[in-house]
Subunit: 231 residues, 2 copies
C-alpha cells in the first residue's frame, strides 16, 4: 500500500465529513426548494408534506445507493488495476521499468539518474507495483468498509437535512404560512451548515455560508417561479 509518510493535506476534510456535506447540502436544498415551489401552487400543507417526504425518500435512496455503488466501483477498479500492474511487472518488466524512468524524467530527472531508481525498483516488485499504482495511475487504495458507511452517512445526512425545511409544513396547515417559517428556518440552517462546512473544507467559513445560502435561495426561487407559472 502506498504510504506517503508526510502528507501535507491540511486543507482537505475527512471522508466522513465529505459524505455528510454531500448528503446534507442536497438534503437542505432540494426538499426546501420543492416545498417552496409547491407552496406557490397549492393551498394546504398536506400535499407539500406528501411531496416533500416522497422526495426525501427518493433522494436519500438515490444518493445513498449511488454513493455505495461509486465506492464499490472504485474498490473494484483499484483491484483490477493492481492485478494488471502485477502481471505487467511479471510479463513485461522492461516496459514497466521504462515507465518508471519516464515518470521520473518528466520531472527533469536525467535518464542516468532515473536509472538508479529503476534498478532499485526492479529489486522490489511489491514496492514497484505500489509506485506504479500511485505515481503512474494516480490511484490510492480504497478502504473496503467505506462503501456501506459512505452510503449510510450520505442517506442519513440527506434525511436530516430534508426534515428541516419540511418541519414547518407539519406544524402549520396553511402552505403559505408554513412557507414563511420554512424559508426562515432553512436559511438559518443553510448559513450554519455552510459556515461549518467552510471550516472543515478550508474554503473560508463566511464565504461558504454565503455560497450555500445563495444556492438554496436560487433553487427555491426557481422552483417557486416554475410551479407558479405552470399551475
Amino acid at each position: 500500500m502506498p504510504q506517503t509518510p508526510h502528507v501535507e493535506r491540511h486543507f482537505t476534510a475527512g471522508d466522513r465529513v465529505r459524505d455528510i456535506v454531500i448528503g446534507m447540502s442536497d438534503g437542505l436544498t432540494v426538499p426546501f426548494a420543492l416545498a417552496a415551489g409547491l407552496s406557490g401552487a397549492v393551498a394546504t400543507s398536506r400535499l407539500v408534506v406528501t411531496a416533500g417526504f416522497a422526495e426525501v425518500a427518493a433522494g436519500s435512496i438515490a444518493m445513498g445507493l449511488g454513493g455505495y455503488l461509486a465506492a464499490r466501483g472504485d474498490a473494484e477498479h483499484y483491484a483490477s488495476e493492481l492485478a494488471r500492474e502485477e502481471q505487467e511487472i511479471r510479463d513485461v518488466p522492461e516496459v514497466e521499468a521504462a515507465e518508471v524512468a519516464e515518470v521520473l524524467t518528466s520531472y527533469g530527472v536525467t535518464t542516468s539518474e532515473a536509472g538508479t531508481i529503476v534498478a532499485a525498483m526492479r529489486q522490489r516488485p511489491v514496492q514497484w507495483r505500489d509506485f506504479m499504482m500511485r505515481f503512474e495511475l494516480g490511484l490510492e487504495k480504497p478502504d473496503p468498509k467505506r462503501a456501506l458507511q459512505s452510503a449510510l452517512t450520505i442517506a442519513i445526512s440527506y434525511i436530516v437535512g430534508g426534515l428541516i425545511p419540511l418541519s414547518p409544513y407539519l406544524a402549520v396547515a396553511s402552505a403559505q404560512a408554513a412557507l414563511k417559517a420554512s424559508v426562515i428556518v432553512t436559511l438559518i440552517a443553510l448559513m450554519v451548515f455552510g459556515y461549518v462546512k467552510g471550516h472543515f473544507t478550508g474554503s473560508g467559513p463566511l464565504r461558504s455560508a454565503v455560497q450555500t445560502t445563495v444556492i438554496g435561495s436560487l433553487a427555491a426561487a426557481a422552483a417557486f417561479g416554475i410551479a407558479r407559472a405552470i399551475s
Copy 2:
C-alpha cells in the same frame, strides 16, 4: 505541470462523460420517484407535473451550482498549495529535500539512491514543485474552464433526465394512467443509460444497466410507499 507521459487509465471516463452521468442518473431517478410517489396520493397529473418541474428546477440548480463551486474550490485549493510548495522550496529547501527522499524511500528505494534524485530536483525548482504537488500531495492541475462547463453539463443532463419520467404526465390527465407509462418509459431509459454508462466507465454494461434500474425502482417504490402512507 505534472505530465505523466504514459498514463494507463484505460478504465476511467473523461470529465464530460462523468458530469453527464452525475446529472442524468439523479435526473432520471429523483423526478421519476417523486412523480411515482405523488401518483399514489393525488388523482390528476396536473399536480404531479407542477411538483415534478419544481423538483427539476431545484435539482438542476442545486447540482449545477454545487458542481461549479466544487470545481472552483478545487482550482483555488490547487493554487494555494502550489504557492505554499513554492514558498517552502524557497524558504526551507532542506525540509522539502527530505520529503522527496521520504516519498522515494517509502517505496523501498535506499537513502543513497534517493539522494541522486533529491540532488537532481534541487537543480530544477519548477519540476521539484510539480513533483511535490503530484507525488506528495496527490494533486493534479485543474482545468480553469472546467467549473462553468461542468456546471452546465450537470444541470442540462439533470433536466434532460428529468423530462423523461415527467413526459407521460404532460400527455395523460389521470395520474394513475400516466404513472404506468412513466414507469415503462423510465425503466427503459434507466436500462439504456446504465448500459451506456457501464460502457464508458468500464464497470460492465449489463451490470451497470441492472444497478441503475434497481436504484431507480427502489427510490420510486420507497417514494410511492411513503406518499401513500402519509396521504
